[in-house]
């Protein structure tokens, strides 16, 4: 892929700038991943102190967003990048917004976890949340991997996972409604659980967005609000004649 080659600039400083800002985005992604893992652990194991500590990580994430944003503006102003470099910067500006939102949702889960920790735990010990959490964490991880490798195929594969997340979300939703109808005393807990699950579903959406930016960065195609099958077909037909 010609876009993977970031070292083609005559100006070495420009290369370094691009490489550094990319590394910063991925480092922010690393913090977000750790934050998400922490908030999920606190939810599943009922560790309220851990849940509250997530808020501190979210502050770091917010700080990094501002910092990377400034860096991108500086590059746009001083280097006037074109073509794939411009796409990289645009994709980065969008990616960090989604990463920051993932951080916010993670913080929300941590807050709910510290509230749920004092309530009675259900018999299945939030098994389905654990399952959904695993899928969503994997999505975030794979999306960032695709960003690091500029791997459009991997991004497409990951974006497709969003459908599984939606299905799981629906299933937990129905289950919560059943619990609430069976025993109204669980309504309070079930509502909090539903908020947490809702946050996880949103995180899945943000991860999908990041995948879309990766595809935009590599192919220069905006695939938002397009069916994934069409995107796949389109990319394949583009690849077809000149393999």
């Amino acid at each position: 892929m010609e876009t993977a080659d970031l070292s083609h600039h005559i100006s070495r400083r420009f290369n370094e700038d691009l490489e550094r800002v990319r590394a910063q985005v991925l480092s922010m992604g690393g913090i977000v991943e750790a934050l998400l893992a922490k908030s999920l652990t606190s939810l599943i194991e009922g560790d309220s102190a851990l849940g509250e500590s997530v808020a501190i990580d979210d502050l770091r994430v917010n700080g990094m967003e501002v910092q990377i944003d400034e860096e991108c503006s500086r590059i746009l102003a001083t280097r006037a990048p074109a073509a794939s470099d411009l796409r990289l910067i645009v994709a980065i500006i969008k990616t960090i917004t989604d990463l920051e939102r993932i951080g916010d949702e993670g913080e929300k889960i941590g807050y709910l976890a510290s509230r749920l920790a004092v309530m009675e735990r259900p018999e299945n010990k939030y098994r389905e949340i654990k399952h959904l959490g695993r899928i969503v964490s994997e999505m975030v991880h794979d999306a960032l991997d695709a960003f690091a490798r500029l791997d459009a195929d991997g991004a497409l594969r990951t974006a497709r996972m969003d459908r599984v997340v939606d299905e799981e979300y629906e299933a937990i939703h129905r289950q919560c409604i059943t619990f609430m109808m069976e025993d109204p005393r669980t309504i309070r807990r079930a509502l909090d659980v539903m908020w947490a699950v809702r946050s996880l579903e949103r995180i899945g959406d943000h991860a999908k967005n990041i995948c879309e930016y990766v595809i935009y960065m590599v192919h220069g195609k905006d695939i938002r609000h397009t069916r994934l099958e069409d995107v796949e077909q389109h990319l394949n037909s583009e690849k077809g004649p000149t393999p």
Binding site: L26, S27, G30, I31, A34, L40, T41, A148, R149, D151
Partner: protein
């Protein structure tokens, strides 16, 4: 020498022969010179042809056999063939060694990643790919921190020293990885990755066992001490029973102390996070410690040397237990005529130091490195008698570790020992001097 002489003679004789044949033919044709020129021309053409063949063969030497020519050209060709064969042999041997080396590295059970000066991946083996989720050749040239994004790993990579490996725990799936960086020539670095899930699990099990066992021991002990106290408070108790009962009570108290220390330690072990940052008034703490000592029978003198009112940022109960353990040790090993000095001072670089100096018997140098080991005793008989659990310094070390602090022990046998706790500047808060005279005088 003879070989080359013979070759030269052979060449010369050949040339003479050709020349003679040319002259003979020239004489027969009537012109000597035409014959000579013709013969020389034929000889030259022959040499050129041979040269052409040699060149042709060298160009395609891997596909064709060497040309079969007699004479000097044959010698030259066979020499070239020999050189060529030797070179190929060495090359193959070198390749073989290289292949074996890379095969053995690839077969290592631990993951190995080679990083260049920019932390880009140059090479990795199969286990590294499995443990870190690296893929194929495409990942070479990427920065390792772009793919292994854990913030702790990033900090570790950016740090200059790698004496201790970094252990990271992942929750999904539950795997613990140990990372170790080994720098070598030209800023290149070797990243070793090992799966230590089993060790971490065993360590957790051991900790849980100690914690549970101590907890289980505590309740029966409470019953025993309670009944002993009740019995001893009875004035009608026969004298011959009283003394053994008192001994039983002493031992039960000692056991209680050990169990409490064990519980403290296992709590500290389980607490992997950095200690809290509450403000601790060390000056007030020193006063309390001093009062405690003065309340004991047969205590040595206690001197306070407060040089700063700086507050310590830490976990107060932990700090108190660490400091009182140090003071306890000092009291145990100092005679009534001795002096214990508690000192709290700021160092020039912003760090702060709490030290306990005694004028006791001191510790022989060979014991110093092992002092903080659990249940290590310098003088087995004596410290049991004094009621120590053997866990005091282990607790001190653990508490200090959570505060990023270190302990230093200076001791001269016969003259006394000094235990100093060194707290880093980030754990110290300077406050305005509130009072100038030492408190609680």
């Amino acid at each position: 020498m003879t070989q080359s002489l013979r070759t030269a003679w052979f060449l010369l004789s050949r040339l003479m022969l050709v020349l003679a044949a040319g002259m003979l033919a020239g004489l027969m044709l009537g012109s000597l010179w035409v014959g000579v020129i013709l013969s020389l021309g034929v000889a030259l053409a022959w040499q050129l042809l041979n040269l052409f063949w040699l060149d042709e063969w060298l160009r395609h030497r891997n596909r064709h056999d060497p040309p079969d020519t007699p004479g000097l050209w044959g010698d030259v060709i066979s020499q070239v063939v020999r050189l060529h064969r030797r070179k190929r042999y060495h090359k193959e041997r070198l390749l073989q060694v290289l292949r074996e080396l890379s095969q053995s590295t690839a077969a290592l059970p631990d993951g190995v990643v080679v990083l260049n000066a920019l932390d880009e991946i140059t090479w990795f083996n199969q286990p590294a790919a499995r443990l870190l989720g690296l893929r194929g050749r495409g990942d070479r040239g990427l920065r390792v921190s772009n793919l292994v994004r854990d913030p702790q790993f990033r900090d570790y990579l950016g740090r200059g020293e790698f004496a201790e490996p970094l252990v990271l725990r992942r929750t999904e799936p539950d795997v613990s990885l140990s990372f170790q960086i080994v720098p070598y020539s030209d800023g290149q670095r070797l990243l070793m990755v090992r799966d230590v899930s089993r060790q971490v699990q065993l360590e957790t099990m051991r900790r849980d066992f100690v914690a549970n066992a101590s907890h289980e021991l505590r309740s029966p002990l409470t019953v025993v001490t309670g009944h002993l106290e009740l019995l001893l408070s009875d004035d009608a108790l026969a004298e011959d029973v009283r003394s053994p009962l008192q001994e039983m009570q002493r031992q039960a108290y000692r056991m209680n102390g050990i169990v409490n220390d064990l519980l403290d330690l296992s709590r500290l072990d389980a607490q992997a996070r950095e200690a809290a940052s509450d403000e601790v008034d060390v000056v007030a703490l020193c006063a309390i410690l001093r009062k405690d000592v003065l309340a004991r029978p047969g205590h040595p003198a206690v001197a306070l040397s407060v040089e700063t009112h700086a507050r310590l940022l830490g976990d107060e109960p932990g700090i108190l237990s660490a400091f009182s353990n140090l003071v306890d040790n000092a009291v145990k090993h100092t005679p009534e005529s001795g002096v214990i000095t508690l000192r709290w001072a700021l160092l020039p670089d912003g760090a702060a130091q709490f030290s306990v100096a005694d004028t006791g018997r001191g510790i022989a140098p060979e014991h110093l490195p092992r002092l903080a080991e659990r249940f290590y005793r310098v003088d087995t008989g004596r410290s049991r008698e004094a009621g120590g659990s053997g866990l005091g310094l282990a607790i001190v070390k653990n508490v200090l570790m959570h505060h990023g602090a270190t302990i230093d022990v200076q001791s001269t046998p016969g003259a006394g020992s000094t235990f100093s706790c060194l707290f880093p500047a980030r754990r110290v808060k300077i406050v305005a001097e509130e009072r100038t005279d030492p408190p609680n005088e």
